[in-house]
């Protein structure tokens, strides 16, 4: 793993190596939080949790910025902040409750690590571009990360922001795409395909890298910043990753877990925690192979 001093611009508030055990603990907490609240959107949370955890634990310094453009994965962000001690168990217990800050999409105010209320897709990349521009104008060395969904690249405003970012060659901007291939009412292939995404976006002046979004080593290798232009990392992921009979299904986008699915997921993550990272990655690869055929 690269050292923090290489990877992190502007300080290192949270920097600590992310272990597979910690990641599985976060997955369990994410599942538990959603199951207790009886809410859905689990699929897109699990597909991006690995990258979000990695960035927050190993890359994000005090002065850096993270924007969750796919706001419907707010649960993954809350759990990531919990894993860093920035939110408590009591906080997470308020997820989706009345009078909570932990809504289904990130709140506008009240959680300092969350800078913008997102949820309507197509806003986050422009906000991230603005933060990158501000850093340039202010002579600050902060790095800006923006996590988008794959369906979000159908939004015109995302393309406006992409053109703007590429034109201004924001080399402090890293864009991540949670490429789980499923959107609200179908697959990204079936609805309004931008696939293969890395080829469609190749005309923009980005450094584009593709990685396995459930392989920490693969994500790390993709995250080294480009010196001259924005970095766009396409995370190949599985919606609902790790939940038996739920992963890579449309149901995982909307529906809460059944008791059986909940038990199956917790058991799965428990198994993964007890095995070596190599074994876990082998498992994840096998799972991806079997389920993308559905």
């Amino acid at each position: 793993m690269p050292t923090a001093s290489v990877l992190v611009a502007g300080g290192a508030a949270y920097i600590m190596p992310l272990s597979v055990a910690s990641l599985n603990k976060a997955r369990c907490r994410l599942i538990d939080m959603h199951y207790s609240a009886k809410v859905g959107h689990i699929g897109g949370n699990l597909s991006c949790l690995d990258a979000m955890m990695l960035i927050h634990h190993e890359y994000l310094g005090t002065n850096d910025r993270f924007i969750l453009s796919k706001g419907h994965s707010a649960g993954a962000l809350y759990v990531t902040l919990w894993s860093l001690g920035r939110l408590t168990d009591n906080d997470l217990d308020q997820f989706h409750q009345d009078d909570t800050l932990l809504a289904g999409h990130p709140p506008a105010k009240g959680i300092p690590d969350i800078r913008f209320a997102t949820g309507s897709l197509g806003h986050g990349l422009s906000l991230a571009a603005g933060l990158a521009l501000a850093a340039r104008l202010q002579g600050a060395s902060r790095r800006v990360f923006c996590l988008t969904s794959d369906g979000e690249w159908q939004e015109g405003s995302t393309l406006e922001a992409a053109i703007f970012s590429a034109h201004h060659r924001f080399n402090n901007l890293t864009i991540l795409v949670d490429h789980n291939h499923l959107q609200g009412f179908g697959s990204t292939d079936a609805v309004a395909s931008m696939n293969p995404l890395h080829e469609r976006l190749a005309g923009l002046d980005f450094e584009i890298r593709v990685c396995d979004g459930h392989d920490l080593g693969s994500i790390r290798a993709a995250l080294a910043p480009d010196r001259h232009r924005p970095l766009l990392v396409i995370l190949n992921t599985i919606k609902g990753r790790g939940v038996p009979h739920f992963a890579n299904t449309m149901e995982s986008h909307y529906l809460p877990l059944t008791a059986e699915q909940y038990a199956g997921a917790m058991a799965q993550f428990e198994i993964e925690s007890r095995h070596s990272p190599a074994r876990v990655e082998e498992y994840a690869g096998a799972m991806a192979g079997s389920e993308t055929d559905q």
Partner: protein
């Protein structure tokens, strides 16, 4: 107003926190500002949604972000960005909108801004500035720039009658005294109304007030106006904006809540439905009854 705008912005541009974003507009108008600001003047291209969100993020980082485009491309095209990224976070982005009302005339309804401040004033902490005269630009920019929250600045063309001197800027200004009620004009139409009403004698014309800052809940009418309204019980509102969400409706609510009874009320506003043919701002105002004849008729109605 655009030349005055550029002059005033150049004057402010010494502040290193100021960033100016344009949606690819400003040719033969904003070049001096571009030259003065260097890298802090950014042409965002034909991408207004992105421009507004970028401005929100700049404001979040402590910079003073001003955006500039044709009015409907701001409030209509980028409404969700204004709502979510600017207003939800209480960020002080300043939205400069050129061509309020029918200002773009024969360019057609895609370029008209007839529901702008009505829509935007539904958003939290939004202030809308509708300067009436070119002379207002300095104070408008200063007051908008001083706000911690967002502001929308609707720019038009000053219509000061020949020979008149514009009174010092204020959110509410009395332009003419009169005994036959109160006429409130929003923005540049105040100049047009001024030219009409000065031909009436004092007893047969309403007092003319220009309002330039909205909503009226944040800038309520001064006591001099409300006292006269209580006495005369006659009110006319003139605005280049549709009735819904306009100052006319807002004043109706305000007088009711203030316990002021009205015997007569006239609301001159932009037509709620676009016509089938196009024309100049003068033509379109006439079609909506916002021309000098329509204003004169409203004044006579109040006096009768």
């Amino acid at each position: 107003m655009r030349d005055a705008l550029c002059r005033e912005l150049v004057g402010r541009s010494g502040d290193e926190r100021m960033v100016f974003l344009t949606g690819d507009l400003g040719f033969m108008a904003l070049e001096p500002l571009r030259d003065a600001m260097g890298p802090r003047f950014i042409n965002c291209g034909v991408a207004e949604q992105n421009m507004v969100s970028v401005a929100a993020a700049l404001s979040y980082e402590g910079l003073e972000a001003w955006t500039y485009t044709i009015a409907p491309f701001c409030y209509a095209r980028a409404f969700e960005q204004i709502r979510n990224d600017v207003c939800l976070h209480g960020l002080g982005v300043k939205l400069l909108a050129n061509g309020g009302g029918y200002a773009y005339g024969v360019m057609g309804p895609t370029h008209h801004a007839l529901e702008d401040y009505g829509i935007l004033l539904t958003l939290p902490n939004m202030t809308a500035f509708v300067p009436a005269f070119t002379e207002d630009m300095s104070q408008t920019l200063e007051r908008a720039g001083d706000l911690s929250g967002p502001a929308y600045i609707r720019l038009g063309r000053g219509e000061k009658p020949k020979g008149e001197v514009v009174p010092t800027y204020a959110p509410w200004r009395r332009l003419l005294d009169g005994h036959a009620g109160i006429m409130i004009a929003v923005g540049p139409l105040a100049g047009s109304a001024w030219g009409v009403l000065r031909q009436f004698d004092l007893a047969s014309r309403p007092a003319l007030w220009a309002v330039s800052e909205l909503p009226i809940e944040a800038n309520p009418p001064p006591s001099e106006l409300t006292d006269a309204l209580s006495r005369t019980r006659r009110l006319a509102v003139v605005e280049e904006h549709v009735a819904h969400g306009g100052v006319g409706q807002a004043m109706c609510r305000w007088v009711i809540e203030a316990g002021i009874g009205l015997d007569r009320f006239r609301h001159l506003h932009a037509s709620d439905r676009p016509g089938s043919t196009y024309g100049s701002q003068v033509f379109l105002r006439r079609r909506s009854g916002l021309d000098p004849e329509g204003i004169a008729l409203a004044a006579k109605t109040l006096a009768s």
